[in-house]
Amino acid sequence: MATEENKKTGAGQGSKPGSKPGSQQGFVYLPLIAGWLVPGAGHFLLRKWGRGALLSASILGMFVIGLAMQGKLYAGAHDILHLLGLAGDLGNGLLYIFSRMLGLGADQVQVTTADYGTCFIVVAGLLNVIAAVDAHNLRTGRKA
């Protein structure tokens, strides 16, 4: 079934008949980097449209809901917990950078739901890292 899907979606394009999936030409880390910067972009590059759309919608949805709940965007690493939060937030790639530039997200957690919002934003970043690594695995042929 995975082979049929690959034929339909065109995964493994650029590979010659008989060659290993991982021996495709081009920059092998491009889906990983694109997937980190823009949620789902790594899968879109590999023409996995359905998977990319689901991942993009899920991660974007979590991030936006987190902001709507007045979640906090970590700005600096004052202590180890803030450092971990910042690492999670950075997983969102351009979403985090643009949100910081636009001044979105609360500076201080003031309502109960803001704690959940902060958690949503951090987890969205971590899920985006998982999605980017998945795109990399698809690119190298480690996953069908």
């Binding site: 995975a2 987890v123 999605a131």
Partner: protein, 56 residues
């Protein structure tokens, strides 16, 4: 937004990502996504009741 709705939304989105990234075929993705969703929400309900009973 209620706490339960937050749990359901969290479980929904996280389960989609887990399903898509951890399995190879669409059928297995859906099954694993549903499995994760049930575990997320089920664990939240069970732990909530436990904390409620302990607090009494």
């Amino acid at each position: 937004m209620s706490h339960f709705l937050a749990v359901v939304l969290f479980a929904f989105f996280a389960s989609i990502v887990f399903g898509v990234t951890m399995r190879d075929t669409p059928r297995r993705m859906i099954r694993y996504g549903i499995y994760c969703f049930v575990l997320f929400v089920g664990a939240a309900i069970v732990l909530s009741w436990l904390m409620f009973l302990i607090a009494r």
